[in-house]
Subunit: 189 residues, 2 copies
């Protein structure tokens, strides 16, 4: 049921059968329909989500009413509003399925206990967070050094298959510009 996660964990640390069973008691596995929400603005983000199959996105509504996508999570990535998840604050974000998605969730009230019972997982999540931090550093560098058009071409070149998976308006806001402008970039080729 949660084997996709166990496989992912075992790329980073060794977790035996017994430990997997302990971990299972903290997990929930379920499906999310396309466009359904795992989090809405004003709610507390109750879980950290691991994508088994499909795609989730994290976004907020800006002051002008436009959706701004700040993060995508595809297979084998974790996604949550960390501040809301850790401190039980009201979130300013939405987490929505961009495709039909299978997820594994760790509820926040299990999170600390999980680390107490399975300290090995400290290392797994440290390594995951390191990957996130690398991705953030790379993203900021792209945002600060390239024009909108360059960012699109670059992203398209790096992740051609992913560009096909999401609507252009989500991609546009993720890359930091408007859907109209993305359309004009594409028209040039």
């Amino acid at each position: 049921m949660c084997s996709a996660l166990y496989q992912h964990i075992n790329k980073f640390i060794d977790l035996n059968k017994d430990e997997q069973e302990v971990l299972a008691s903290f997990l929930q596995s379920f499906s999310v329909k396309k466009k359904a929400f795992l989090l809405e603005q004003g709610q507390k983000c109750s879980a950290n989500y691991f994508v088994v199959k499909g795609c989730l996105r994290l976004y907020f509504i800006d002051i002008k009413g436009a959706e701004q996508t700040t993060q995508f999570a595809i297979e084998n990535w974790w996604i949550t509003d960390l501040t809301s998840f850790l401190f039980k604050e009201q979130s300013e974000f939405f987490i929505q399925a961009a495709e039909p998605t299978e997820v594994i969730a760790i509820e926040s009230h299990h999170y600390d206990e999980m680390f107490l019972k399975l300290p090995k997982l400290e290392r797994y999540f440290r390594l995951i967070l390191q990957k996130n931090h690398q991705a953030s550093q790379r993203r900021i560098k792209f945002l600060y050094s390239q024009t909108a058009e360059e960012r699109y071409c670059n992203f398209n070149h790096l992740f051609p298959e992913f560009v096909q998976r999401v609507p252009q308006y989500m991609l546009a806001s993720y890359l930091g510009f408007t859907p109209e402008f993305l359309s004009k970039i594409r028209a040039k080729r």
Copy 2:
């Protein structure tokens, strides 16, 4: 010698005297003169740096030759080019002291060994990386929802004392615009 770091660690986990001594064998503590470099473009980022006192910045030179500051680290923050640090790749970044700075460094060839000998630190670094991830999520949200002027006012409001500590051209690039434009924003008040 490294007591500032021990104090910081003990905010998150308990590290006894013996463990502190083990840790000390992986650390180096030293001073960096203002404007001196801990990392230059093309080098491998050999260490992860903890700022005891002062201020470091991470920046790169963009295609037009302008410095783009992507991160600051003041007291009790860690800073490194993670990709270069972890994978011994040539860095595209510089790490420079924005003030006379005292740092504690963990060399990359000690990093894995440190976690083997002191697995408790997995938790400490997980928690640090969680803070970083929160900061990144907040930063992306600001970048995507506010104009240059709003970002400056907001930052100025949140960190008034820090704004005094660094030259405006560093702050401008950190906030994602040019020094000239920052000057014009300030002229309005």
